[in-house]
Every structure is written in C-alpha cells, then in structure tokens.
Amino acid sequence: MAAARRSVLWRGSGLWQAPARVRKGLLWLLLPGLGVAELAAHVWFAARAPRESEWRELSRAVLREKRPGEPLVVAPAWAEPFAREAFGDRAFPFDELARSDDATFPRLLEVSALGARYEPARSWRVVSEAEHGRFTLRVLENPAPLRVRYRFIEHVNPRELTVALVAGTQVLPCEFSEQAPVVAGGLHGEVAFPRERFVCGAGPAFVGLTVIDDQRYEPRRCIWAAPPPGFTLRLVFSGVPLGSALRGFGGLSYFLFRDSAAPPVTLDIASEGVRLGSYVHQDAWGFHPFRLATSASAGRTANVELALHAGGAPQRDFCFTLEALE
C-alpha cells in the first residue's frame, strides 16, 4: 500500500528517491504554481474589503454610538465615502468632517475596516470596542484635549460679526446677505462661495464659510476672508470670551496656490485697541497652524478685531479658523 502511495508521487519510488535531475526539474513546477497562487490571491484580495451594502448595514450601530462633538473617523480613509453615503449628514456634521485637527475634541468614534486604524489617534485610549461584521467600532479618548471657549467659525452672522473694507480713512461696510449667488469654480476655479455671506460692495470680496483643500488635499472648513488689493478686510467679533490663547489655522486652496510665490497675507488681531499679535501666511504652507498668547486678557469678554491685508496683491484667497482656548 505504502509502495503504491509512493508511486503516485513518482514512478517506482518515493519523490525524494527520484534522481537529482528530476528533483531539480521539480523546481520548474514553481512557475505554474505561481500562476495558481496569484489567481488565488486575486480572488482573496478582490473579496477582502467590505461592500457598500455592508456599510449600510452598519448604519444603525454607528448612529447609536455617534455623539455630537465627537467626530466620526473612518479607517482606511479611502472608504469614507461609503460611510458618508450610508450614515448620512447626521453622522458627519460639516464642522466635524472638515475640522482643522483633532486637538480640541475629547473623543472620536472610529469605524475601522480591514484592520486599519485612524493614525492621528492611534495613541488615544480605547474607551470601547465592538465588532460588527467586518468592521470594528471604537470610541477613542483624547488624552489631553484643548478646551475651547469660543469658536469664531460658529459666530459668522450679522448679530455677532461686523465686516468692512478699509483703505486709509475710507470704510466700506460689507452687508450680510442670505441670498447671495452661490458660485463654484470647478477644479481650477474659486472655492465655493456660500449663499449666506457678508458681501463687500459690488466686487468679489466677501466673508463667509467655505471649505478649502489643505496640503494633503483634505477638507478644512474655514472663514473665507480674502483682502482685496489695496484694502484691509476688517472683521470685528463681539462678545468673545478670551482665554489663555488664540489658536488658529490659515491657508489658501492648496491646489490653486501650491506653486504661488505671491506676497503673504497678514492677519493682525487686536482686542479693544490692544494688539494681541499677528500671523503672516505664505501660500505654499497649505493649511498652517498659529497660536497667540492672550493670558493678559484671560477671563475677559471683549470685541476681537481681525485685520487682513496683503498689500496690492490680487487674489489673496485667505481662509482661516480661530478659537479662543481656556
């Protein structure tokens, strides 16, 4: 019986009793073996990632876990469109989806597939973890979240913000409109100009909320405040509770300005006539952080005046975020 079994492998003897020439020849079997292995690997890889329907099935579990102020993140990031389609706008508020960074958020809800992790929060504590089919839902806790007293982006409205163009002694107020024409320039054009915005005269200058692309082409929601040539764009936020610092990000659409060597945009910040500091932004930096200490004003509620200027340079399409930290 044993002999018969051996003969299946090789005529009249075991495989390893075969002549060296034959054994060497068997190496050639690696080639068709590679063909089969590649085919098997293809089948495996093709079926590996969760399908659209599986994302939809996950919806209920995700919406149950989702808390306001705790952004939902998806790993791998390329699968996020499925999550947005399946979970809807409720799970992805604009401010959370296009946030500047994670530093001010105490928690994140991570939806993970294929064993991927959301890298910026890999070191955060896992509060809870649950398997749902081919997904893992994790609640992640920020070990040291920055506490925010005031997000300027939440106060871009005519009750709390006044906007004007200033040139010398000339002051041109920018009126708030709820029905301004929506504009979007496509790939090579301007970012989207929202319907609700402060419109400065008949020109293109305005202040409003939009989303720009950062240096990794990621979305960043920000206050569009592009100073026209020769003007200073002045924004005055009223009743801002100041804390230890102002923390912000500034940038221009990276795709449009990544090669630009145009003059920088300067943002001067003052409160009640007292200068708090400045930020000077170079185009190629992308969406860039800055921080100004305001300890001397901490605990005060005051008006904060932002003055943006770029000399005579045209198309200084600056967009920024600003937060008053505790």
């Binding site: 090789w10 068709p32 024409p181 496509g186």
Partner: protein
C-alpha cells in the same frame, strides 16, 4: 532553446483567429465601459474630419486646398491624423451608413479595438517565428490579458494603436533587415510613416533601430557569427527616409508651412503640461517625478506570472548569449529588448510626466510578452521532460503549463472590466491594497459609465448634471448611445446643476468640497465602486435623493 523557424499557412489562420477573437471580446464588452476624456477629444476630432469628408464629397479637390485643410485640420493637430481618420471612417460607415454597429461611441472605438487585435495577431506571428507555436500563443494571450492593455484596447484613443504600430513596424523591419527583400524594405519605411502618423512615440523608433543594428553587428563580430542581412542596412535607411515622406503625405496638416508645423508638433509634446498623478500617497504635478514610477506601476498592474515568465525569458536570452547564439535569433531578441528598453527609457528622466499612468509605456508590453514567451518555452521544455518521466503523451505538458500560466491573467482581466484603471494585481494587494498604498484609482473621468443607471433614475426631466472630469464630448457619447437620457445636459457649472459627479483623485477633492457647499450635503447619493473601493460618486440635491 528555440531558434527561428518559418511560418506555416496554419499560423496565419491562428493569428487571425486570435486577433478576431480579441476584437470580438472587446466589442462584446465595450458597452459597459464609460467614455474617457481623451475619447471625447478624439471623437470630436473625428467629427471634424467627418465634416471634412463631406467637404471632399461636395467640393472635390478644393477640399485639399489650404483654406480647407487649415479649417478642418488646424483645430485637431495636437496628435497626427491616422487614428482620427480611422475613427471618423468607422463611424461614418459602420454606424451611419451601414448600421453594422449599434452605438455611435462603439463605432468610434472600433479602430482602436482592431489595433488591439492586430497586436495580438502579430505577437503570435513573431513569437511563432522566433520561439515556437505554443510559446507564441502564450505570448499573445499574456498581452491580451494584461488588464491595463485590455482596458486601453477598448478605447478610441492612440495608446494601443501606437503599441500595435511599434510592434508591426518592428516585425516588418526585422524581416526586411533579415531577408533584404525589397517589398519588406519598402514596407518597413511605409509602415513607419503610418507609425509616425499614429503618435509621437514613433520618434524614438529610429534610435531603437540604430541601437539594434549596432548590437547585432557587435555580437556577430565578437562571436564570429555570420552576418544577418546585407552590409548596407537598407531597411533602416528606408525607415528614416520613406517614413517621414509617408507621414507628410497622409497628414494633410503638414502640407503647408511644413517645417513650422513639424516644429510645433515636437514642441507641444516636448514641453507638455504637467498634470497631477497620485503615486504612493503623494500627488506629483511637477518635476522631479518619482524615479520608481514606471517599475512600480508595472509590478502593480501586470500579472506576476507574466513578469515571472518575462524574467525567465531574460535569463534564457542571457544564457543563450553566453552559450552561443545564432545571429538571426539574436536579431529577434535584440529588437525585442531594444523595443522594451526604449519604450521605458523616457521614464529614466525625472522630467518625464507621469500623468497618463501605465499607458505611456504600453508599447513595451508586446516585447515584454514575447520575451515572456521565451521564458515559457524554457519552462515548458523542462516540464515536458519531467512529465515524460511520469506520464504518457508528453506533448500535453505545454498546454497544461500554459493553462496554469494563463488562468490568472485571464481571470484578473475579465474581473478588471470595466474598472481597468482601478485594477491592481495581488502584488499591490488588489484594488483595496492599492488604495491604501496611495496609488491612483481612476483618471480620465470614464467611471461615469458606472453610474448611468442612478443618473437616469434620479435626474428630473431636462436636468443639468455636473460632469466633473468627464469631458462634455464624452458625455455626448453617453447620450448618443442611450446610456444616459437624452434630456440630461452635461454642465461644468456646479451651482446650475441638479446632480453632480465626482471622480476621485486627491488633487480633485476640492471639487467635492465645492459640491458639499453648493449642495449642502456631504453624503453621496450613489457610489460606483470596484472590489469595495469607491471610485466615482454622485451627489444629488436634497429633493432628488432616494428615501
């Protein structure tokens, strides 16, 4: 190993069968493949030429006067005219006159498919002459079943056409070089003219022939081998002298202000704009381009078994050189190696744009597959010996090995359709692995083809659809073919649209952000995906979304 042998009558039949079968497969699968940006531009050019045909019919020789030539040929002169003429003729006759093809777009695509079929057939013929029948079939099918080749072979574009022309011209040149028959010598020159009239890759070809000639003559001298072909390289002289004349004759745009227009043609391509391309998580849009782009993308998109056979083929060629090789066989091998090397050579420069992905070095692939045929022949011979030790009928060994080698490429290629540009081999982890590695998922806006059902379902009557990366001319093809409702207008204005497409490339994400702001939602209404990887998605204004 295999030495060159003459073709038999049956080889012609096999070549035709392979070519026809490939064209039939392409035709049968074309409907589900969306129209690319470049197809929009080339079909626009073809439509212009169809108007020129009308002018020829109406005015006779006056259509060949400068006013008419400039009027019709000036706007479409970025690339030469051969394929655009063929697209126009195919559309005019196969679609409009004879109704042999039911879709306007497919009629425009047919010449490109025929070029794909021609390449498959000629790979077989050349492989048959140089290596043997089984290896030739394997070479031809390895080429046919490269997923990216299969994708590009469907298109009314120039890339597979120039691949076929490089191959065919090389093959005829080799025969002319070897046999020195005047027909073949003249044929090589004439073919080079058509090759030049296809795409500018042809500029490299004479350099390839010079390198080939020097290599062959050096080897003959070193190894004291008999000379292949005549002392005077008539075929090469034919290529460099007759080729440009033929180009001038068949590209009417060159008939006037010839030197300035030739210079403009060269300058356009030598100073081509840089477009964006994602590679390993980074978007490149200006030099220096990544040095590893071409090799990594080849590894990531060509089946590993094809590359393994190619590596084995290279080994076999090197071994034959060391052990002693017939000069005629070396003439074949050297032309393959030179064709392969020259087609990749531009990507040795870090100034060469990478925006077209793998399509720019497609002309290397027939030679890669022919060399893979040598590898297959070597492996099949060894396995046949092994088989003979154990089984009857050793002649079965080669077909069995071929089946094992071809099953993967065939399966992967069929599975890749119609997502040819999203497909990656297991070496890259498939499409999900490639997405994680930051390799480009799509370009050219063709993936609109995956969302036509959703567009037709969600769009209100007479709606405007923001087409994003799909060219408006390509949108027109979708409508003409009935894939998209005739009442739906393509637009490049987001605010004026009811539905908006987004084709994902990192640098284009700003368009998606614009859509979020304009539509007031971040949730796509539908997604076109491949193997669990989102590629194209559709946004709808609130009232149009499905409940």
């Amino acid at each position: 190993m295999s030495t060159p042998s003459r073709l038999e009558r049956s080889d012609g039949a096999i070549a035709v069968a392979l070519g026809v079968a490939y064209v039939a497969l392409l035709l049968g699968s074309a409907h589900s493949l969306g129209y690319t940006r470049d197809e929009g531009f080339y079909t626009y050019a073809a439509r212009v030429l169809e108007l020129w045909f009308d002018r020829v019919g109406d005015t006779g020789t006056a259509a060949f006067e400068r006013t008419n030539i400039d009027h019709f040929w000036n706007p479409i002169h970025e690339h030469p005219g051969l394929m655009k003429l063929l697209f126009a003729l195919s559309h005019r006759f196969f679609y409009e006159r004879w109704s042999l093809i039911g879709e306007s777009g497919t009629a425009y695509r047919l010449p490109g498919m025929l070029m794909g079929g021609l390449a498959v057939a000629v790979i077989y013929l050349w492989g048959r002459e140089a290596v043997g029948r089984a290896a030739a079939v394997v070479s031809a099918l390895l080429f046919a079943f490269m997923p990216r080749v299969f994708f590009h072979s469907h298109l009314a574009c120039l890339d597979v056409a120039v691949t076929a022309m490089w191959l065919v011209t090389s093959y005829v040149y080799l025969r002319a070089f070897r046999d020195n028959r005047w027909g073949a010598v003249l044929g090589a020159g004439v073919l080079y003219g058509f090759f030049l009239d296809t795409k500018h890759n042809a500029w490299l070809f004479p350099f390839a022939l010079v390198v080939h000639l020097v290599a062959v003559r050096l080897l003959e001298r070193l190894k004291k081998l008999p000379r292949v072909g005549p002392r005077v390289p008539w075929a090469l002289l034919s290529v460099v002298s007759i080729g440009p004349l033929v180009l001038w004759t068949i590209w009417p745009w060159l008939w006037f202000d010839t030197s300035e227009r030739v210079r403009a043609w060269f300058e356009f391509h030598l100073q081509h704009d840089y477009y964006n391309m994602e590679f390993l998580g980074r978007t490149y849009w200006k030099p220096p381009m990544p040095a590893l782009y071409a090799p990594v993308m080849t590894l990531a998109t060509v089946p590993a078994i094809t590359l393994a056979l190619f590596a084995l083929g290279l080994f076999e060629i090197a071994r034959a050189l060391v052990r002693g090789v017939e000069s005629e066989r070396f003439a074949h091998d050297a032309l393959w190696l030179v064709g392969l090397g020259l087609s990749y050579a531009p990507w040795l420069s870090r100034n060469t744009p990478i925006f077209g992905g793998t399509k720019h070095w497609l002309p290397a692939y027939p030679f890669l597959c022919l060399i893979a045929g040598r590898g297959f022949a070597l492996a099949a011979a060894r396995l046949r010996e092994l088989w003979a030790e154990r089984f009857q009928k050793p002649e079965v060994a080669a077909p069995v090995v071929a089946a094992f080698c071809l099953a993967g490429p065939l399966t992967m290629t069929l599975h890749s359709h119609p997502w040819g540009l999203t497909f990656y081999t297991p070496l890259a982890g498939g499409a999900p692995g490639a997405a994680s590695a930051g390799l480009n998922r799509t370009f050219w806006g063709y993936a609109t083809g995956a969302l036509t059902d959703e567009l037709n379902e969600l769009a209100p009557p007479n709606a405007a659809v923001y087409v994003h990366d799909t060219a408006l001319q390509s949108w027109q093809l979708f409508r003409e073919d009935g894939r998209i409702r005739l009442d739906l207008t393509g637009t490049l204005s987001l605010p004026g649209s009811s539905l908006a497409l987004y084709h994902h490339e990192p640098h284009m994400r700003r368009v998606e952000y614009e859509t979020w702001v304009v539509y007031g939602t971040v949730s796509p209404a539908a997604i076109g995906s491949y193997d669990g990887v989102p590629v194209v998605w559709l946004y709808a204004r609130d009232q149009l979304r499905r409940p």
